[in-house]
Amino acid sequence: MATNYAKAEPSALWNPSADEHDPISARTYGFWLYLLSDALIFTSLFASYAVLDNPSNAAGGPLAAGAINVSHGLLQTFIILASVLAYSLATVSMKNGNKAGLTLGIILAMVLGGAFLYISGADLWALAAQGNGPTRSAFLSIFFTLLLTHGLHIVIGLLWMVIMLVQISVFGFTKDVVGRLLNLRLFWQFQATIWVCVYFYVYLLGGAV
């Protein structure tokens, strides 16, 4: 805001210059709080997964070992981490004021995110086609719900990236746009972190049995 506060002096009782605050800082802080609540959503899902990850909850159907594709899981992990790297490099370009680099990085992150979704979707589809869909047993219900909730985060992230590509080209590096790109970086890092937890918890622990 282009207001000149220079002539108003703070006193012991009143402080006219206090209105200047940093909107990006407040928004980023608010976004961290949102991520905390989102993390609690995944905490509850993981806790439910732990409860239902038991032969008695599989109702004769498969547990994790029969439902996952471990090599695909490893591939997906590399893909999603590469996507985060691409987005992070994009924000480095933003710091340098390089619009082309930023756009390219985001597009790369989107392509990798899309590839992740494709692999994940194909695997889940194949599993459901074998008759082991989410309605087969309580275990498969939580298995699908956990993976699809993470997938939903990727879909939202991709939609957000499309919107940001448009906003970068229309508005350039405004305060709003930069703030949103920084929050999107947090969000993208967050969903990758969740995926790493899914990979360890569902794929590695489940596949080991």
């Binding site: 207001t3 407040a26 609690l40 989410p134 919107i163 590096f173 949103r180």
Partner: protein, 687 residues
């Protein structure tokens, strides 16, 4: 009235048909007539007095935290009334349906409510009182008070704040619609499992309950984010952490609890929703479903939720007791520590809600002990208030009276809570009216704090005090009514009456049921005095001073009464914990700022209201399985959010000259006054 959702379905209207409207039930038809007449009177009055534009511009589309707070409180009071009517119907049913010889009316075998209808009423009573009465009242007071107490212009995210309000409104609207279209859940406010599942409960009631609950918890989560960010980021210069009023501390604790628990119940309800809509097996009775998972998740939210409502009440007492004792709060640091202790312990006691479900002695022992520990910080708080009053110059104004009865109820509710925390005792009275009486004492503590706070801060918001004479009559009748209604329930619980009974077998309990019913009658008298108090105060409108009670200590009493829409003409510099008390002690409480600087304020926006309205449409459509409408409304919400993200509107600037003019005429800047259209500041700043 049950509408089976596995019955006929049409692509256009889903399960909705004329059969869903309960026109054969005289109770609901009468209620519908009253609601329609009231709505017609309100809307008609708005048109008659030409206030439609004003309501739209100044209220519906506002992002001002004080107006949002007022709307929250209005919603809370209306829903409190509806919840009270549900409670009155329940007590009357139990009085009438007592003993095998008791007569039946209106198609009921005993009493006047058939079991299916009675079940819906207690479900609605719990749901409404917690999510649409207590929570909005707490959120509304927080909205009004917090930014004023920390010297901020507004909340950190005003637009998100309005969205929270309209999401809560959407949930309340769904509850109201369920009265007249279809039915409400009959599975209790906690959602019994697997009874809430499709095979056992194929009606739309559970869906109404679930979506109303979801929308309100979404609103509460957003509100929690907003409150925490406001308290952390928006404090006036000089207000270090330990200069914050205790209410801000308790609000911070509360909202940390809110932020961490509401996602859990969102997950639990979403799982139930997936079960009901897609046929999965989280909580079903077969295919490996585990309904204890639901009960645990629900109470992992549910118990901290109790403290989510209780801690703000404690914070409100901590503001009101010092003001009317004319003395600084005793034990500030211990008060803060106690708030955080209660918040923290609240997370680890959830299983005391189901001691009798077979966890075994080790877990029961742990949860008993953990629950008892909550008594320690709560006791610290109670003694701090007592020591604040000790040797203070106490004024028995209405807010102080409410605070004192709140303390008494806290003692009764707290000690019975300690009894219940012993799992061996709990086995005897589990799910009895003793438990009902215990938690009603506790929610009445919250109620007392809310009535105290509404009376206390009313002049700050509206510029005149509530009538003291009728306020006292309201207070005394309310206290007598509460004792008459709930004290007999303790005994009835011991006598073996369990909760949620539409029929009581033992006719010997009639006299106690009569006492309880008499209390309901006194509640109606207190309601009369409440309305009379509002009427007389609104009629007379005796202007109040900026420090309305004369002994205010915190920052909000420094600005004008009624508070201007920009809160403080110039942001105050904070020098002490009780800033106004400090200024009074130094004789500078009347020193006004000498020069003004322009203030940057956000523009009104209809987007939050649209999001709320579309959420209500979504909830209704998905409840009735009108798939096209649910998809369309959800898509519309996403599109509106995207369009809004392209909006470059950066608010407007209130010039120094205009502030000077408004400061000389505070009534023009009140939140009731209509503001002229001010030119928008539409520029984009490059970094």
């Amino acid at each position: 009235m049950q509408v089976a959702v596995d019955g006929p379905w049409s692509p256009l209207l889903g399960r909705l048909s004329l059969a869903a409207i309960p026109y054969d039930n005289p109770i609901l038809v009468t209620t519908f007539a009253i609601v329609v007449v009231l709505a017609a009177v309100i809307v008609g009055a708005a048109f008659y007095f030409g206030k439609v534009g004003y309501i739209w511009r100044e209220w519906i589309t506002t992002v001002d935290h004080k107006k949002i707070g007022v709307m929250y409180i209005i919603l809370g009071l209306v829903m409190l009334f509806r919840g009270f009517m549900d409670g009155a119907m329940m007590r009357t049913q139990q009085l009438l349906a007592d003993g095998p010889a008791s007569p039946g009316y209106l198609g009921a075998q005993h009493g006047y409510l058939p079991p299916y209808h009675f079940d819906q009423i207690y479900t609605a009573h719990g749901t409404l009182m917690l999510f649409f009465a207590a929570t909005p009242l707490v959120a509304g007071l927080g909205n009004i008070i917090i930014p004023l107490q920390i010297g901020a212009r507004d909340m950190a995210f005003p637009y998100l704040n309005a969205t929270s309000l309209w999401l809560t409104m959407a949930g309340a609207a769904l509850c109201m619609i369920s009265l007249f279209v279809g039915e409400f859940s009959n599975a209790t406010w906690v959602g019994l499992m697997p009874f809430s599942e499709m095979p056992f409960n194929p009606g739309v009631g559970v869906d109404y309950w679930m979506w109303a609950f979801q929308l309100s918890s979404l609103g509460t989560t957003f509100n929690a984010i907003n409150m925490i960010a406001t308290i952390v980021k928006m404090r006036a210069p000089g207000m270090s952490w330990f200069r914050m009023p205790v209410y801000c501390w308790s609000s911070l604790t509360t909202n940390i609890i809110g932020l961490t628990i509401f996602p859990v119940v969102t997950v639990a309800l979403t799982m139930l929703g997936i079960d009901r809509y897609f046929g999965t097996h989280f909580f079903t009775a077969g295919y490996g479903g585990n309904f204890m998972l639901y009960i645990n998740l629900f109470w992992i939210w549910g118990h901290p939720e109790v403290y989510f409502l209780m801690l703000p009440a404690f914070g409100l007492f901590s503001e009101i007791v010092p003001t009317f004792s004319n003395k600084a709060l005793f034990g500030y640091a211990t008060m803060v520590a106690a708030s955080f202790s209660i918040g923290g312990i609240g997370w680890v006691v959830w299983a005391h809600h189901f001691f009798t479900m077979g966890m075994g002695p080790q877990l029961n022992g742990y949860f008993s002990a953990a629950t008892m520990i909550v008594g320690i910080p709560t006791g610290v708080k109670a003694f701090n208030w007592l020591f604040t009053m000790y040797r203070g110059r106490i004024t028995f104004a209405t807010p102080m009276l409410w605070a004192i009865i709140g303390l008494v109820l806290l003692l009764v509710g707290g000690l019975t809570g300690m009894m219940l925390s012993a799992s061996v005792f709990d086995y005897t009275v589990h799910d009895s009216l003793f438990v009902v009486a215990h938690f009603h004492c506790m929610v009445l503590v919250i109620g007392s704090a809310l009535f105290a706070a509404v009376t206390y801060w009313w002049p700050k918001v509206f510029g005149f005090k509530l009538d003291e004479v009728n306020g006292r009559l309201y207070y005394f009748t309310f206290v007598v009514a509460s004792l008459l209604v709930f004290v007999p329930l303790f005994y009835l619980g011991f006598a073996g009456v369990t909760r949620r009974l539409d029929y009581i077998y033992n006719p010997d309990l009639k006299s106690l049921l009569w006492v309880s019913e008499g209390g309901i009658g006194v509640y109606f008298i207190s309601l009369f005095f409440f309305l009379k108090m509002l009427y007389i105060s609104l009629r007379d409108q005796i202007p109040a001073a900026s420090d309305s009670w004369g002994t205010g200590r915190t920052l909000e009493w420094l600005t004008h009464t009624p508070v201007p829409f920009y809160n403080f003409a110039v942001t105050p510099q904070i020098n002490s914990r009780d800033e106004l008390a400090w200024r009074k002690a130094n004789g500078v409480e009347n020193v006004q700022p000498t020069q003004y600087v322009p203030i940057h304020l956000p523009n009104s926006t209809a987007v939050p209201f649209l999001i709320g309205a579309l959420s209500a449409v979504f909830g209704f459509a998905i409840t009735w399985r009108i798939w096209w409408l649910s998809i369309a409304s959800l898509a519309a919400i996403v599109i509106i959010i995207i369009i809004r993200s392209f909006d470059k509107n950066e608010g407007y600037v209130l010039s120094a000259e205009e502030i000077a003019r408004l400061e000389s005429r505070p009534d023009l800047a009140s939140i009731i006054a209509e503001q002229p259209k001010r030119s928008s500041l539409a520029h984009v700043e490059a970094i």
